[in-house]
């Protein structure tokens, strides 16, 4: 197996990688947004006159959309600038551009905004004090209702030996990609071009087409190097404003967030309240009841995916005879809920793992054995009625348990050791296509994603092509093309790059091999590629020929082209179990078992993670170094969710901690070097049986830390994060 270094390291280390925040075009203007001063209110008037009176300033607002957009707004429910009502604080009401950033900011400040404030809904529980009573269902703030059940739940709870009912609360976490959102837009004629830092160039193109009411063929999205995504750069954010400004100015316009805005405008995981009830009889789970109240921010009715998607994670990877899940998505006066690395799954795993640990204690059973006894296995079906398939979580847990036992034996008496589990699935998105271009000296992978840091594109796709065709990695190059030139692909999300786009690469490699075989007059399996004297050669029983000699006259300038596609094959759930709303099937199942050793300060409640180990079901390791990097990085990000990260709002919807000083992410001294072990042999949906890896490693972390904290000091903390204050309160130190 190759351990080739990623080919983007050199350009990044030399400071020559151009990120969205670095973009600059001759003659460009600098843009700025005009933020709403309230979280909810009726717009009386937005007066751009003060801004337009300043020299060199261009300003656009709701009243200008009809003239700037050839067909008017594309999506009436999602106006680019609101005309009537403000939904969250800092919502852009207008945008301005000027020759310098300072002038743009002065112009933004010169816009007069007159808004009649309305009551804001910020704290979920203030609206639903009696939830899950019947009142919640009648609230006008509910935008989603999902409900599923199976089996005789009432009988299970009535006849149980033990029933445990608990409430968990989870907090909102930010992405904190170090590069803020940034783009440069340039509108010429009917061609709307934007260069931007994005995970999903084609997703942005589709979104812009819908918002601006212009055909997709008129929109060109060109990605840049991305300074961290984590889900936060997967939908359009600044691009519509920048394009409108460029259209109005007739010049390119740069628009970027400053870091405070990054916190204030980012669409991410929002708070939730989770109620879990479990019935146990003779040591077995016989019934599970799950209720979820999820803050969906200013998401629109009918457009919220998060409630139905995430609620499945609250059942965990466990069998139960009977269950009921019911969730409500609540519209609040915050930016809309958006994806954050394994959206809401770490929070769900925290709740279900901590809860089942408590259930086991009440039932007098070892918490790890209790969970192991109920884990899904190949051949089981999930509570939603989907077949499980190859699933390595049992093997991962067995290995994790051995490490936990050893650490417990070695650890000082005041340390605690805990185990947490999580599951995920390899996303497919709408699908993807890849093109391989074989030239006399290299193989190019032409595709439409952008590398966001994980290495899944820059190294992952190369490793897949390497394995499929037998060429060395230094002869394989990834080409990043704009949406005008690239084959379609959904983008980087859902841990899908290697799993889905990688399948397209394999299919293209198969087509390429068949093409070469035909030219050589042999069967495809008899063809191999190699490098000899600097040339790529095609070997077959009929001898060896250089690729150069195989090219037709038309191919001489470009090379031999082969295409592959991978579009999702939908799995199924048992729809008879769905009472209301949408639930989604998974592609495959991947599991992770983590172990943490922690110490807890008995005066302050501060938690320190001393040791950490991860056992990751991965199907097949495609590239060891990048795979390890995903697990190490996911663990650190998960430690932030577990211990320190929490967005806080005032009652009137103001974000109280929009800085890195008061929203604390893990620092270099706070993350132990984890032991990382891959569990292979349980194949997934990706090439060579690989499973998606970007998201799974973050999922078990808060649950694992919570279990270790409980083991260390007895504190059963039911809210995230496990800040020193929360642990101290649970221990009654405060």
């Amino acid at each position: 197996m190759s351990v080739a270094a990623r080919s983007d390291l050199e350009v990044k280390l030399a400071g020559r990688a151009e990120y969205g925040a670095d973009l600059e075009l001759p003659g460009m203007l600098w843009g700025a947004l005009v933020p709403s001063p309230v979280a909810h209110g009726k717009i009386r008037h937005v007066d751009l006159g003060g801004a337009r009176a300043l020299p060199g300033v261009v300003a656009v607002g709701a009243d200008d959309l009809a003239t700037l957009l050839p067909r008017g707004q594309g999506d009436a429910e999602r106006p680019i600038f609101p005309a009537d009502e403000v939904a969250y604080r800092n919502q852009p009401l207008a945008a301005v551009a000027a020759p310098t950033l300072a002038e743009a900011r002065r112009a933004a400040a010169a816009v007069r905004v007159d808004i009649e404030p309305l009551p804001a809904l910020v704290d979920l529980e203030s609206e639903f004090p009696d939830w899950p009573g019947p009142d919640a269902a009648r609230s006008p703030h509910i935008i989603t209702h999902v409900h599923a059940r199976h089996g005789d739940l009432e009988e299970a709870f009535r006849t149980a030996d033990h029933v445990v009912e608990e409430t968990y609360r989870t907090s909102s976490v930010h992405h904190v990609a170090l590069e803020p959102h940034a783009c440069v837009a340039s509108v010429v004629g009917d061609r709307w071009t934007v260069r931007t830092t994005t995970q999903t160039p084609f997703g942005i193109r589709e979104d812009l087409s819908l918002l601006l009411g212009v055909p997709e063929a008129s929109v060109v999205v060109e990605g840049t190097w991305v300074g961290g995504g984590f889900g936060g750069k997967g939908a359009s954010l600044l691009e519509p404003y920048a394009l409108l400004l460029s259209r109005a100015a007739g010049r390119p316009v740069r628009l970027a967030l400053d870091y405070r805005q990054e916190f204030e405008l980012g669409r991410t995981t929002l708070p939730a309240v989770i109620r879990l009830a479990t019935a146990v009889k003779a040591g077995r789970i016989v019934g599970r009841r799950v209720r979820l109240l999820l803050d969906t921010g200013s998401s629109l009715p009918g457009r919220d995916w998060s409630t139905g998607y995430s609620i499945g994670f609250l059942l965990g990877p466990y069998t139960t005879a009977a269950f009921e899940v019911e969730g409500y998505g609540v519209r609040t006066n915050k930016p809309a809920f958006g994806p954050h690395r394994a959206p809401f799954a770490p929070q769900c795993a925290f709740a279900v793992e901590s809860h089942l640990g408590e259930v086991a204690r009440v039932a007098g059973i070892d918490p790890v054995r209790f969970r192991a006894d109920h884990l899904w296995r190949d051949g089981d079906t999930t509570p939603m009625g989907q077949a499980v398939g190859p699933f390595g979580l049992g093997a991962a847990l067995a290995a994790a348990t051995a490490v936990a036992d050893r650490w417990r034996a070695e650890a000082p008496a005041d340390h605690g050791v805990g185990i947490g589990l999580g599951f995920w699935s390899t996303g497919t998105g709408a699908g993807g296509e890849a093109r391989l271009v074989l030239t006399p000296t290299e193989l190019r992978v032409e595709q439409g994603e952008r590398e966001i840091g994980s290495g899944s594109v820059q190294r992952g796709l190369v490793a897949v092509a390497e394995r499929a065709l037998g060429l060395p990695p230094e002869r394989i190059r990834v080409d990043y093309l704009s949406t005008a030139d690239a084959p379609f692909d959904s983008g980087v999300f859902g841990s899908r790059t290697v799993g889905a786009l990688g399948r397209a690469v394999v299919e293209a490699a198969t087509a390429l091999r068949a093409d070469l075989a035909a030219r050589s007059g042999v069967a495809a399996r008899d063809v191999s590629l190699a490098v000899e004297a600097g040339e790529i050669v095609c070997r077959s029983p009929n001898g060896r020929r250089t690729v150069r000699s195989l090219l037709t006259a038309e191919e001489a300038s470009r090379g031999i082209v082969a295409s592959g596609r991978h579009f999702a094959k939908s799995n199924t759930i048992d729809e008879r179990r769905v009472v209301a709303g949408s639930f989604y099937p998974f592609t495959d199942f991947t599991g992770a078992a983590h172990v943490a050793e922690v110490s807890v300060d008995r005066e302050t409640g501060a938690v320190r993670v001393e040791r950490y180990a991860a056992f990751q079901d991965i199907g097949t390791v495609v590239d060891p170094a990048t795979a390890r990097g995903q697990v190490e990085g996911g663990i650190a990000m998960g430690l932030g969710i577990a211990l320190t990260e929490e967005a806080l709002w005032s009652d009137d919807g103001r974000l109280l901690n929009p800085h890195l000083l008061d929203y604390r992410i893990p620092t270099l001294g706070e993350v132990p070097a984890p032991e990382v072990t891959f569990v292979e042999g349980f194949p997934g949906a990706g090439p060579f049986g690989a499973k998606g890896l970007g998201e799974p490693p973050i999922i078990p972390v808060p649950a694992t830390v919570a279990a270790a904290v409980r083991d260390a000091c007895g504190a059963h903390v039911t809210e995230l994060p496990l800040s020193a204050e929360r642990v101290a309160r649970t221990l009654k130190l405060l």
Partner: protein, 158 residues
């Protein structure tokens, strides 16, 4: 009388600061006036370390530094990696250790570590070097590969 400071030098070359306002931050001078975009803009409040440069060899947050404050100094940025032996060595160590993913925090880490090695020498304990990097945030790697890169850079320093 102290003589007026000489011109600001960036990566060994005198910088043309004609017409620069006194309030300009070194970060903006580098990125937008001198078009040296290797130094990254993160938080602009001194909390993330992405904008770290060397001023007369000392690790400095360019977002919290007025360019006028460092008049007459030698500023070294990641863009000058080829000409600075310490930065070049740290870069090689980070590449070998795979100590970066998205790469946005990387110039800050590399320059900060190069500054620490210049200041304290390669005999400084690795814990001291890691302590000196606590002000640099990374969201991708979980720091594990960075710690490996630091150990490698220290081992390879003369």
């Amino acid at each position: 009388m102290t003589p007026p400071p000489g011109p600001l030098r960036v990566n060994g070359r005198p910088a043309d600061l004609t017409g620069m306002p006194d309030s300009e931050r070194l970060l903006d001078t580098l990125r937008w006036r001198l078009a040296l975009k290797g130094t990254k803009e993160g938080c602009r409040t001194g909390d993330c370390g992405a904008c770290t440069v060397l001023v007369d060899g000392r690790s400095t947050l360019s977002c919290l530094t007025l360019t006028r404050e460092v008049d007459g100094s030698d500023v070294t940025t990641i863009d000058g990696a080829a000409d600075d032996a310490e930065i070049a060595r740290v870069s090689r160590a980070f590449a070998a250790a795979g100590a970066l993913q998205c790469g946005y925090c990387t110039p800050g880490f590399v320059v900060a570590l190069a500054g620490l090695l210049k200041e304290r020498g390669s005999s400084a304990p690795v814990e001291e070097l890691l302590d000196g990097l606590q002000g640099n945030l990374c969201r991708c790697t979980g720091y594990a590969a960075i710690v490996r890169g630091v150990a490698l850079a220290r081992a390879e320093a003369p």
